[in-house]
């Protein structure tokens, strides 16, 4: 880039940035597409698929990454405003409408920022558009591009003559491909991006005006409810329609294989009909006892995957001065959205529209088309935000169900799940057991580390063609995705950390190429995929939180055996500079006192301690280290976190306020998961089906303080951030409890009973020594 070009890019940063706090226009998902663009022509390699300039000067941008409350609508609007040098209020972002937005798959996996903010997709489209308009202006004004400056969409030449974006391209196609060489604006010059701009949905939310999918109403709308089986695997024997004969306003009882639902004129009538409908179900299979679930899990037939195997761990462990063994278990947990899922579908003979809170608008379109036996391009899915989902909650299933009900009655149907429909049938976060062994040398270094985990899974996101991955599909007779057979052969190719299965301390060597974050070269990580009795699917930090809980607590155990300081001991086994960076930053911010854990010579009813944990999320998608300070009530076994200090490196930050909100919420959600959240069941069915039976920390909980430091190395791309801090939270809390009490918690959640048991065990062990 020439210096003058750089100056230009800077100069558009000199404009006065203002923004509207009232975001009315941005909240509607029903916009006009790029002018004249046909649905089948949403080609992501074309600029017109991403961006259009209206005659009114409004920049309309189209994204396949949608906002569930994580702030990506605001951040993407900032991105477009930044690259195009316009006020934020001039940007209108349309998210995840399959008739007008590019297919970006699923909004998940901390991928929205890496996908749309670096060198491709939305960011590249906005940069391409700016350069294209500069070139047009250069011709129109008869001046070289280097002479041009731009402020709020007005391009001015050295002569003082100017032209507006809309004069150049208003309501017209660019007819250009995305230009891979289009220059992004430098973070140092940002004036809109990188600023803590208040989230655009804020005022509408706080004043009760915001439209959730639950509020979508279309003319002639009917209301539906589903009637689910009492237990997984139960099938319909008979549906007695006479049982609801007296329900006024009932339109239809819909039965399709094992799918049962009702449609009525009002919500109340639909609710009554669903409650009253007599369905005779065949019983499902017995469920494995919860008491020894993990012991049984480890005995089940498994499909195995080796992430890394140096093939010398047994030999090195035999030589070690000390070998430490432990098993960690992580329960099934729920997304547990506050709002039970809802969708509206309007299925006509030749077309269908579904208003859905799914994270996967395009995949949902494909599945709806499949279930209705309709051509894909006849189905439109319009994303409308639902209750926060944190992954695959009931939003996909309710969208499919609504389409089936609407199809059955030939009228638009709004389907509202009950609390039990939501909780009993969601795709849970996987239960997981991790067995670990490691050896220490005489001088207190880890010489070998061996790790095996057992992951229970059944189903997943439905993707484009697997409806059986969620309950609707199963009821209709589609098969769920089963654990994929693995070879358990030595891995080949590039090292991957496989959902943080591989601890950060492994060198990660495959055929001599070491792609891991650490220094331990005698290493093995083997995963056993086991069929789950319940549906599973991605829940915020899927498997990463489970694996990191085990890895980071076990690391703390090794550290205690080596009688080393937990920060220093980690640093001794790390080589990734960004993990090292956040670890040091967190320790410094927390005023970490270097000493081994546990504390010694402590007494009293309440003991305090501190713990640390760190992670490279998925190896390279964000880095965090968290210090937790907790109090432990030695009589009740209650763990009360008092303070969290987190250091985060996610590269350049799009919106610091949005990031803080995500990190704070993530850590506190992680704390709830660590302390109280656990799915329960008896021999027939799930028993945690509402907020009396599934625990979550309510608003009366005494929340700890959360302090944050951001580490941003120069010249790195943006990574995900919303799942990074939650990933280390359970481990940091567990390590802090150990520091306070000497008791090691290896089973999540850390209920008072489990803590008490660990305290007793720890006291007995101390007595024997």
């Amino acid at each position: 880039m020439t210096q003058s070009r750089r100056d230009f890019l800077k100069s558009c940063g000199a404009m006065i940035v203002t923004f509207s706090s009232v975001s009315g226009g941005l909240l509607s998902a029903q916009g006009q597409g790029p002018f004249g663009t046909h649905p089948s022509h949403i080609d992501p390699s074309k600029l017109d698929s991403w961006l259009a300039v209206g005659n009114d000067g409004v920049i309309t941008a189209y994204t396949g990454k949608c906002d569930f409350g994580q702030g990506i609508l605001t951040a993407q609007s900032q991105l477009v405003a930044e690259e195009l040098c316009v006020r934020l209020a001039r940007v209108k972002l349309i998210q995840c409408d399959t008739s007008i937005c590019p297919d970006q798959g699923t909004t998940s996996g901390s991928q929205s920022t890496p996908t749309n903010f670096n060198s491709e997709n939305l960011a590249l489209a906005a940069a391409t558009a700016r350069e294209a308009m500069l070139n047009l202006a250069a011709k129109k004004l008869g001046e070289p591009v280097e002479n041009l400056t731009v402020a709020d969409g007005v391009i001015t030449g050295a002569s003082g003559r100017h032209v507006r974006y809309e004069d150049l391209i208003g309501n017209k196609h660019f007819d250009l491909p995305l230009n891979a060489k289009a220059k992004r604006r430098f973070p140092a010059d940002w004036t809109v991006l990188g600023k803590p701009i208040p989230s655009l949905d804020r005022t509408a939310l706080m004043t009760g005006q915001f439209e959730f999918v639950h509020h979508v109403r279309v003319p002639g709308l009917l209301h539906g409810r589903v009637v689910r089986p009492p237990e997984i695997g139960a099938t319909v024997v008979q549906v007695d329609e006479q049982s609801v004969r007296n329900v006024r306003g009932l339109v239809k009882v819909v039965v399709r294989k094992d799918f049962v639902g009702v449609v009525a004129e009002t919500q109340h009538q639909a609710t009554l009909a669903a409650r009253q409908l007599a369905v005779h179900w065949s019983p499902g299979p017995e469920l494995p006892p919860q008491k020894d679930f993990f012991d049984n899990l480890q005995k089940q037939p498994a499909h195995d995957t080796l992430s890394v195997n140096s093939q010398d761990v047994d030999a090195r462990l035999a030589d070690a001065s000390k070998v430490i063994r432990a098993r960690y278990t992580y329960p099934y947990q729920m997304h547990g959205s506050v709002g039970a899922s809802c969708a509206v579908a309007d299925v006509k003979p030749e077309s269908a529209t579904v208003w859905s809170a799914t994270q996967s608008a395009y995949p949902t379109r494909s599945i709806v088309a499949k279930l209705l036996n309709m051509a894909i391009d006849k189905v439109r899915v319009i994303y409308v935000r639902g209750s926060g989902c944190y992954g695959l909650n009931g939003a996909d299933a309710v969208s499919f169900d609504a389409a089936i009900l609407s199809h059955a009655v030939g009228k638009p149907v709004r389907l509202q799940f009950s609390r039990q429909d939501e909780m009993m049938w969601e795709n849970l976060g996987s239960a997981c057991a991790v067995q670990l062994r490691a050896g220490l040398s005489h001088d207190g270094r880890i010489v070998a580390w061996d790790r095996e985990d057992w992951v229970a899974s059944l189903g997943n996101r439905p993707g484009y063609d697997q409806p059986g991955n969620v309950i609707t599909g199963m009821l209709l007779g589609y098969e769920p995705e089963l654990p994929k057979p693995g070879s358990a052969k030595p891995p080949t190719g590039k090292f991957r950390n496989q959902s943080n299965t591989v601890p950060s301390y492994f060198a990660g060597c495959i055929a001599g190429n070491c792609g891991g974050d650490g220094t331990i070269r005698s290493e093995r990580a083997l995963t056993h995929n086991v069929r789950s009795p319940f549906f599973t699917g991605p829940l915020r930090s899927p498997l990463r939180i489970q694996n990191t809980f085990a890895n980071e607590c076990f690391m703390d155990e090794l550290c205690a055996h080596a009688m080393a300081d937990p920060v220093a001991f980690r640093l001794l086994h790390l080589q990734n500079s960004r993990v090292i960076g956040v670890l040091n930053a967190a320790a410094q911010a927390a005023k970490w006192e270097a000493r081994p854990s546990p504390k010694t010579a402590v007494s009293g009813r309440t003991l305090s301690g501190r713990g640390i944990a760190c992670v490279a999320y998925e190896g390279n998608n964000g880095y965090s280290a968290l210090v937790a300070e907790v109090d432990v009530d030695m009589e009740t076994g209650t763990v009360q976190p008092r303070r969290f200090v987190v250091a985060l490196d996610c590269g350049p930050i799009s919106n610091p306020d949005g990031l803080r909100n995500q990190i704070e919420g993530g850590i506190l959600q992680g704390m709830s998961r660590a302390l109280v959240e656990e799915v329960t069941w008896n021999n027939k069915r799930m028993t945690s089906v509402d907020w009396e039976t599934y625990n979550s920390l309510h608003l009366d909980y005494e929340m700890p303080t959360v302090e944050m430091v951001f580490v941003t190395p120069p010249d790195v791309p943006a990574t995900g951030a919303g799942e990074t801090a939650i990933t280390v939270t359970p481990a940091a809390i567990g390590n802090a409890v150990f520091d306070a009490t000497g008791a090691r918690l290896r089973e999540l959640p850390f209920s008072p009973q489990r803590v008490k048991a660990a305290l007793v065990e720890s006291a007995e062990r101390a007595g024997k020594l």
């Binding site: 009760g208 506050v338 306020d657 919420g665 005494e702 929340m703």
Partner: protein, 156 residues
């Protein structure tokens, strides 16, 4: 059986024709088109459907519309407008005290109700009043900060 029911909601009188057993929430959402109170659980366990009646919070998902009578019902949108938000709404806007925002009726209206009755309520008392309110995004810290800010401004 459908009956005419008169409701006073957010300062306006409405006549709706519904089954008197219909939960108030469904009437607010479906007949009056209000978006503040939302269906969370239908079991009075989470607070997403909260409204204020007789200066007290009520879970509208379990209250039959026939039980409302002539009482004034206030929903989240009844406090203030986007152009002129109520001070507690303004405090939430200033603090950015939400993520998905689905739970806000329970959080904002419960805090307002307790502070209306007891303006000098302590942090502990405010928190205790929120014991039945759930936020699964865990925006707790910002929410409590916003409530504290509102409470302090109200006192002075």
């Amino acid at each position: 059986m459908r009956q005419k029911v008169t409701l006073n909601v957010n300062g306006q009188r409405h006549v709706v024709e519904v089954d008197p057993e219909t939960p108030l929430l469904f009437v607010l959402n479906d007949e009056l088109g209000l978006r503040g109170p939302r269906f969370g659980c239908g079991m009075a366990q989470c607070g997403a459907c909260t409204v204020i009646m007789r200066r007290q919070v009520v879970r509208s998902c379990v209250m039959p519309v026939s039980a409302v009578g002539q009482e004034e019902v206030t929903t989240l949108e009844g406090l203030g407008t986007p152009e002129n938000p109520h001070p507690i709404q303004q405090a939430f806007i200033d603090e950015g005290a939400a993520q998905c925002g689905f739970c806000l009726s329970g959080v904002i209206l419960t805090a307002k109700a307790v502070l209306d009755v007891k303006p000098d309520a302590s942090d502990q008392e405010i928190r205790d009043s929120l014991g039945g309110v759930l936020c699964r995004c865990f925006a707790h810290t910002r929410m409590l900060r916003a409530i504290r800010k509102y409470a302090e401004a109200k006192r002075t």
